[in-house]
C-alpha cells in the first residue's frame, strides 16, 4: 500500500488541534443561527459550545460565542468563511490559552438530599461564585460561573452530594482591561 493517506486530503502530516473561542457579531434576523451552525456542520468543523443573544437592540446585533477545535488552517478557514456570510459583521478569534481574554460558563445545579449533604455541595461550589436561586427543605438550585473544565469537574464531584440535574450555557468571552473586541 502506498504510504500516502489520501491524494486529496489537506495534508499527510497530522497537525495539532487547538481550542479556539470565536466571537461573531451578526444581524439578529431569522435563520442566522442556522447559517452559522450550517456552515460548521456542512464543512465538518466542530462546535463544542455555542452561546447567543442580542447585545444591541437598536442596531439589532447579536453576539455569538462559539468554542471550536481545529488545526490552525481549519480555524483560519472557519474565521474567513464566517466573514463571508452576509449577516456577519465581525469575527474575533482567540485561543483558549489567551491570557487577555476571560471565558466563562454558567451552570444551574439542582441538589436534592438531606441538609448536611446540601451544605457540603454548596461548600464545594465556593470558588465559583455560588448563588442559591431556589431553596426548599429537600433541595437547592445553585448557580455557579466557572470555566468549562471546572464545571465538568464539579458535576462529577457533586454527584455524591445529591446532584440530580444540570443545565449549563456555552462559554461567553470578554477581553480584559479597557480594550474592546471591535
Amino acid at each position: 500500500m502506498s504510504k500516502a493517506r489520501s491524494a486529496y486530503s489537506i495534508s499527510g502530516k497530522k497537525e495539532k488541534f487547538d481550542t479556539h473561542i470565536i466571537v461573531v457579531w451578526v444581524d439578529n434576523e431569522a435563520g442566522v443561527l442556522a447559517r452559522i451552525a450550517g456552515l460548521f456542520s456542512g464543512r465538518g468543523y466542530n462546535i463544542e459550545s455555542l452561546a447567543v443573544a442580542e447585545v444591541d437592540k437598536k442596531l439589532n446585533i447579536s453576539r455569538i460565542t462559539i468554542v471550536t477545535t481545529g488545526t490552525p488552517q481549519v480555524v483560519n478557514q472557519i474565521r474567513l468563511q464566517l466573514k463571508k456570510l452576509v449577516p456577519v459583521h465581525n469575527v474575533a478569534d482567540f485561543k483558549r490559552e489567551d491570557k487577555r481574554v476571560i471565558f466563562k460558563e454558567m451552570a444551574l445545579l439542582k441538589i436534592v438530599g438531606k441538609n448536611e449533604k446540601r451544605d457540603k455541595a454548596l461548600k464545594a461550589c465556593k470558588k465559583f461564585n455560588p448563588v442559591i436561586l431556589d431553596k426548599t427543605n429537600k433541595s437547592f438550585v445553585i448557580q455557579i460561573t466557572a470555566l468549562r473544565r471546572e464545571i465538568d469537574k464539579m458535576i462529577v464531584d457533586l454527584k455524591k452530594f445529591g446532584l440530580v440535574s444540570v443545565s449549563r450555557t456555552g462559554a461567553v468571552a470578554m477581553t480584559r482591561g479597557a480594550e474592546i473586541f471591535k
Partner: protein, 588 residues
C-alpha cells in the same frame, strides 16, 4: 402619497431597474401573480424551460457567456427543489444567479401546506445568501440586495423566496440607489507592499509559471486583456484550469494547455518543477493539485484571489494578494514596467533553461492519440469540430465525462466567455440547457454543446425549449454508448468490472431530434465526419448530432488517484507501470 404597487409589480420594477432582459423559469401556483404581471413588462422576456433544473442551467449559460447575472423564476415546493442542482452548480463555479421562488402564503408557512417546502433552508448551503420576504416593505430592498450579493466579490447564486400573499400586497417603490459596499465589505485588501513582493519574486524566478483560473473570466473582459499583457510583459509560461480556458489564447506559444487530472504533460510538470507559481484567480482545487503533500514541492506560491477564504484553504501560499484580479494585474504590470521597461527581453536568459525544459516536456505530445480509419476517435471529432468552427466565434458548452475533457484538451479558445462547463459540481445535464442560455445571450452566434450520450439524456427535454424559441443550438454527442468516464475508472481501478456503465436501450438520436421538431444528423465514419459537421453548421435550426465514436477510448493524459503531478499516465501503454494502488483506489 407615492403610488402603490403590488408585490408582483415591484418584482418587475426591480428587474427593470437592474437591466434584466431575460428570465428563465417555469410557472406554478405560488408564482402566478408574478406570471400574471409579465404581460405588462415588454422589455423582459420570459424563456419557458421544460424543467426547473434546465431553467437554472440556462440562466448559468446566459450569465457565463454574457457577464450579466442570470435570472431564474420558479414556483414553491417542487419548483424550488428542482432548481437546487443548478444553484449548487452555480455556487461551485461562482456563477451569478438571482433565483426568485414563490412560497405558500405567509399564514400557511409551517403548516405543511400544499407545495410548501423550506426553500431557504434547503438552499442555504448552495447560495451565497437567501431571503424569505415576509413583509412587502422589504421586497424591493431585498431584491436589489440580492443582485448586489450575487454580482459582487466572488459571484454566486442567491435566492429570494416570496410568499404568494406578498405578491398581492401593495407598497410604494423607490428607485434603486447604488450602494457602495455590503456590510462594510470591500474586495481589494491588498497593499502596494504585496505588489512589490510579487515583483521581487518575478525578478528572481528562474522557473516561473502562471496558473490562471475562472476568476479571471469572472473579473471581466478587462482582466483577460490584462492577463495577456502580464504574460507578455513577463515572458512566463502560463497554464489554465478548466474554468479559466479562454482567458488566454489557447493556441499561443506561451500557453502550456490545461493543467490538472487530465491536463497536459508540460503543464503539470511545469507546475511540479517550478520555483515560482503565480495563481491568478484559481482555487487549488483537488482536480488541479493531485496529491497535495507532493504538490509543487519547491516553489514559492503566490495566490491572487478576490475571496479571502480561498487563501490557504487547500494549499499554503507564501504570498496572498486578496483582490480583484484585474486590479492586481493592472498594478503589477504598471510597477513592473516602471521598474523594468523591457523585462521580458532582459529576463529572457534568466528563464531560458526553463523554457528548454518545457519544450522537452512538450515534445512528448501528451494529447496525442492513435487515430483510426474505420472508427471516429472522439479526440479526432473534437479536433475536426474545432478546425471547422474556429473562425466563427463559437461558444462551447459541455456535459460531464470524457467528452468534456476531450473538449477542454482539443478545442482551443482564444476569448473569454466562450467556454461553459460544469467544473466544480460536475453536473451531467448541464450543457444542453446551458447552450439554450448562451444562445439567448448571443443570438447570432454558433453555440455547440459537446455532449455525452448519457449526460444529454438527463436534460434532453430542453430541446423543446430550443425549438420553441428557434434557438439553433447544436448538440454534438460523442456517442460511445458508455458512461465513458465511469467505464474508464472501472477499467483502471476495478479490474474492468463495468458495473452499470453501459447505456443500453439508447434512443435513436436522429429520430429523437425529429420528434422534437429539430434536425438529426448522424456520422459513422471518419470519412463522412467533415461533411456532416459542415451540414450541422449550415443548419439554421437546432440540431442533434449523433457522432458514433470509438466505444473504448480512454481520456489521457491522466494523473491517477493518489499520485502527484509528475507521475502521469500518458496513454494506454503507460498504464501497467503506473497502476493505481492502495488508498488511491478509494479516491474520487
Amino acid at each position: 402619497m407615492s403610488k402603490l404597487y403590488t408585490g408582483a409589480e415591484i418584482v418587475f420594477k426591480c428587474l427593470e431597474d437592474q437591466g434584466v432582459d431575460f428570465i428563465f423559469g417555469y410557472p406554478g401556483g405560488a408564482v402566478l401573480p408574478i406570471y400574471d404581471e409579465l404581460k405588462n413588462h415588454k422589455s423582459i422576456k420570459h424563456i419557458l424551460a421544460r424543467h426547473e433544473q434546465g431553467a437554472g442551467h440556462a440562466a448559468e449559460g446566459y450569465a457565463r457567456s454574457s457577464g450579466k447575472p442570470g435570472i431564474v423564476l420558479v414556483t414553491s415546493g417542487p419548483g424550488a427543489t428542482n432548481v437546487v442542482t443548478a444553484l449548487t452548480d452555480a455556487y461551485m463555479d461562482s456563477v451569478p444567479l438571482v433565483c426568485i421562488s414563490g412560497q405558500v402564503p405567509t399564514h400557511l408557512i409551517g403548516t405543511d401546506a400544499f407545495q410548501e417546502c423550506d426553500t431557504t433552508g434547503i438552499t442555504r448551503p448552495c447560495t451565497k445568501h437567501n431571503w424569505l420576504v415576509k413583509d412587502i416593505k422589504d421586497l424591493a430592498k431585498t431584491i436589489h440586495k440580492a443582485f448586489e450579493v450575487a454580482t459582487t466579490g466572488r459571484p454566486g447564486p442567491v435566492l429570494v423566496d416570496i410568499p404568494k400573499d406578498i405578491q398581492f400586497n401593495k407598497f410604494s417603490y423607490s428607485k434603486l440607489k447604488k450602494q457602495k459596499k455590503i456590510n462594510g465589505k470591500t474586495h481589494n485588501f491588498y497593499t502596494q507592499t504585496n505588489i512589490d513582493e510579487l515583483i521581487k519574486l518575478i525578478k528572481k524566478s528562474k522557473k516561473p509559471i502562471i496558473y490562471s483560473g475562472g476568476g479571471v473570466i469572472n473579473s471581466g473582459l478587462e482582466a483577460s486583456k490584462l492577463l495577456r499583457e502580464f504574460v507578455n510583459a513577463t515572458g512566463f509560461p502560463i497554464t489554465s484550469t478548466l474554468q479559466g480556458l479562454g482567458a488566454y489564447p489557447g493556441d499561443d506559444s506561451q500557453f502550456l494547455g490545461m493543467l490538472g487530472m487530465h491536463g497536459t504533460y508540460e503543464a503539470n510538470n511545469a507546475m511540479h518543477g517550478c520555483d515560482l507559481m503565480i495563481n491568478v484567480g484559481a482555487r487549488f482545487d483537488d482536480r488541479i493539485t493531485g496529491k497535495i503533500d507532493e504538490f509543487s514541492p519547491k516553489s514559492k506560491k503566490v495566490h491572487i484571489d478576490i475571496d479571502p477564504s480561498s487563501i490557504n484553504k487547500n494549499v499554503k501560499v507564501d504570498l496572498a494578494i486578496v483582490g480583484d484580479v484585474a486590479s492586481v494585474l493592472k498594478n503589477t504590470i504598471k510597477k513592473l514596467k516602471k521598474q523594468k521597461p523591457n523585462f521580458s527581453n532582459s529576463n529572457k536568459s534568466n528563464i531560458s533553461k526553463w523554457w528548454e525544459q518545457i519544450q522537452k516536456w512538450r515534445s512528448i505530445n501528451s494529447l496525442a492519440y492513435i487515430n483510426s480509419e474505420e472508427s471516429i476517435k472522439p479526440q479526432y471529432a473534437v479536433q475536426r469540430l474545432y478546425e471547422l468552427t474556429k473562425n466563427k466565434d463559437t461558444f462551447i458548452t459541455t456535459e460531464v465525462g470524457q467528452h468534456q475533457m476531450w473538449a477542454a484538451q482539443h478545442y482551443k479558445f482564444d476569448k473569454p466567455n466562450r467556454w461553459m462547463t460544469s467544473g466544480g459540481l460536475g453536473t451531467m445535464g448541464y450543457g444542453l440547457p446551458a447552450a439554450v442560455g448562451v444562445q439567448i445571450a448571443n443570438p447570432n452566434k454558433l453555440v455547440i454543446d459537446i455532449a455525452g450520450e448519457a449526460s444529454v439524456l438527463m436534460t434532453m427535454q430542453e430541446m423543446s425549449t430550443a425549438v420553441q424559441y428557434s434557438l439553433p443550438i447544436k448538440i454534438f454527442i460523442l456517442n460511445n454508448e458508455y458512461m465513458g468516464m465511469v467505464r474508464q475508472w472501472q477499467e483502471l481501478l476495478h479490474d474492468k468490472n463495468y458495473s452499470e456503465s453501459y447505456t443500453a436501450a439508447l434512443p435513436d438520436f436522429v429520430k429523437l431530434a425529429e420528434a422534437y421538431g429539430c434536425v438529426g444528423i448522424r456520422a459513422k465514419t471518419p470519412e463522412e465526419l467533415d461533411d456532416k459537421i459542415i451540414e450541422m453548421i449550415n443548419t439554421d435550426r437546432p440540431v442533434i448530432f449523433d457522432c458514433l465514436v470509438d466505444k473504448v477510448e480512454n481520456c489521457f493524459p491522466m494523473i491517477p488517484s493518489g499520485k502527484p503531478h509528475n507521475q502521469m499516465l500518458l496513454g494506454p501503454k503507460d498504464q501497467k507501470e503506473n497502476k493505481i494502488t492502495g488508498k488511491g483506489k478509494t479516491l474520487v
